[in-house]
């Protein structure tokens, strides 16, 4: 097997390990559009990173943080619905990102690689980023699991139980931002949310507890990454879309099981 394939596999598996536990909460809390917004804003993060010549993952992470804080602030102050605010943030930052990238005409920017992921571009440093960031995510998830679960079941009951709901929710938003920042190279910003929600959705009918759903989502994600990457190698298709295609097929198969 070629080196780039090993790196891609290592990166993809690291990613699916963390996307399972995070993805189930994205599904339960109906945050799919929030994930999309962060992913779209990642393009602005890339543009700013290129303009100021800083580490791209870092600039994506910092920008996602600003978007998350901005969203919380807007939700408190504005009477507009959350999906409207998310749409403004998502498309606004995407557009500004595209405009900003065009200023840098001395740098050749492979936009498609960021939009859809580029498996060939995954280097050793990216694998380290994914495993480092992923393990950090898992540790934090383990620490806040019960509180986050309580909050996701019912925010008011959790608040009366003494859970700091805004704080926990913010930590979770940051974790989603972290995953997007480390995952954009392999699946691309347009498809990252898919890797969070599709395995979780596929796991739903096979699970009897929240923890089981997270575990099965991780397994579905792992299988999708492996099928997608090998399919991409065999058929010479782009890696990110191939992984998401595999996940979608697994989801459709899961729907053959009758609902409980």
């Amino acid at each position: 097997m070629d080196d780039f394939m090993l790196r891609a596999l290592a990166a993809g598996l690291g990613l699916s390990l963390v996307s399972g536990p995070l993805g189930v909460f994205v599904v339960w809390q109906r945050m799919a559009y929030f994930g999309d917004t962060l992913a779209h804003s990642a393009l602005l993060g890339i543009a700013l990173g290129l303009l100021f010549e800083v580490n791209l993952q870092l600039s994506v992470l910092v920008l996602a943080l600003f978007i998350a804080v901005g969203l919380l602030a807007l939700q408190h102050r504005s009477r507009l619905a959350s999906d409207t605010l998310l749409g403004i943030l998502a498309h606004g930052s995407l557009a500004i990102g595209l405009v900003a990238i065009s200023f840098r005409d001395d740098v050749r920017v492979d936009l498609l690689a960021y939009l859809f992921g580029d498996i060939l571009a995954v280097g050793d440093a990216d694998v380290l980023w994914i495993w480092g960031g992923g393990l950090l995510c898992l540790l934090i998830m383990a620490a806040i699991w019960r509180r986050l679960l309580n909050l996701s079941v019912n925010a008011e009951l959790a608040a009366v139980d003494g859970v700091q709901t805004t704080g926990i929710k913010f930590i979770f938003m940051l974790l989603v931002a972290l995953v997007i920042a480390v995952a954009m190279k392999i699946v691309g910003v347009l498809l990252i949310t898919a890797l969070l929600i599709i395995p979780a959705a596929a796991a739903q009918r096979f699970s009897r507890s929240p923890e089981q759903m997270a575990l099965i989502a991780t397994m579905v994600g792992t299988v999708a990454v492996m099928i997608g990457l090998f399919g991409s190698l065999l058929l010479d298709t782009p890696a990110g879309p191939s992984i998401v295609t595999a996940a979608t097929i697994l989801f459709l198969l899961s729907q053959l099981r009758p609902a409980r």
């Binding site: 079941v153 008011e156 009951l157 608040a159 139980d161 739903q204």
Partner: protein, 253 residues
């Protein structure tokens, strides 16, 4: 605050987006006492509950809670994520994973048989009892119950009110509950706070039921039914629905 006071609110007002939901409300909940908040729809009962729980802050006035106060809350209705696989046992142990407490509370509220059922598949009455069991899980000093008998038939209602009184007697927790009528709750409460955005009247349930402000709000017909109710019952039902003789002071019929 004195040692017996769990919750003390003074001059409470809530204005949200220019709409005044509550004004000048004083509320006091003491250890081991049952206080019922009644009032018509839109009177601000749930707003008052949310103030007591600390879920919202008052626009005017102050609210104090006893230090370290543990509250068990039973909301008016429960919204759950449809896609989360969660059974009653998993739901009840979210706030406290203690199996002795679980056994005791599900036995008391009669939901032991529901433990392995998915939360999303419960009927209205089952959900109410599971919510009460959850409110008890953290051994609360104060139980806050928002319309606890909603969706339960009349016999089940008086049974549930008797359970609430028994919980207070056995566990010594105070109760703050919301009801939209005084009829069934009368025997179960020590004090009544009748509100319609402001406090209309308050005090012992007998006194409130004859108070002009109460009659104004709920009408004289309502008060007559109330009188009929207290005079025509010479027996009570126990938790299993069997007829038992009422105590002396209630035997009029």
């Amino acid at each position: 605050m004195t040692a017996d006071q769990l919750l003390l609110g003074k001059g409470l007002g809530v204005t949200i987006r220019g709409r005044q939901l509550l004004r000048h409300v004083d509320i006091e909940v003491s250890r081991g006492r049952i206080l019922t908040v009644i009032g018509p729809n839109g009177a601000g009962k749930t707003t008052l509950v949310r103030l007591a729980l600390g879920l919202i802050a008052p626009s005017t006035g102050t609210i104090k809670r006893a230090p370290g106060l543990r509250i068990g809350y039973m909301p008016q209705n429960l919204s759950l994520p449809e896609s989360m696989p969660l059974n009653v046992r998993q739901f009840l142990t979210l706030s406290n994973n203690d199996s002795a407490a679980l056994q005791r509370n599900v036995a008391e509220t009669g939901v032991a048989k529901l433990l392995e059922r998915p939360m999303q598949g419960l009927s209205g009455g089952e959900t109410q009892r599971v919510l009460l069991a959850r409110a008890l899980m953290r051994s609360p000093d104060l139980l806050v119950l928002d319309e606890p008998v909603q969706g339960i038939d009349v016999n089940g209602q008086s049974e549930l009110y008797r359970l609430i009184v028994r919980l207070r007697d056995e566990r010594g927790c105070a109760v703050l509950m919301v009801s939209h009528d005084l009829h069934l709750v009368m025997a179960a409460t020590d004090e009544v706070l009748c509100i319609n955005q402001h406090v209309c009247c308050s005090g012992h349930p007998d006194a409130v039921s004859q108070h002009p402000a109460y009659l104004d709000l709920f009408g004289a017909i309502d008060a007559e039914t109330l009188a009929v109710y207290t005079h025509h019952h010479d027996h009570q039902h126990n938790l299993h629905g069997e007829v038992v003789r009422g105590d002396g002071e209630r035997r009029h019929g």
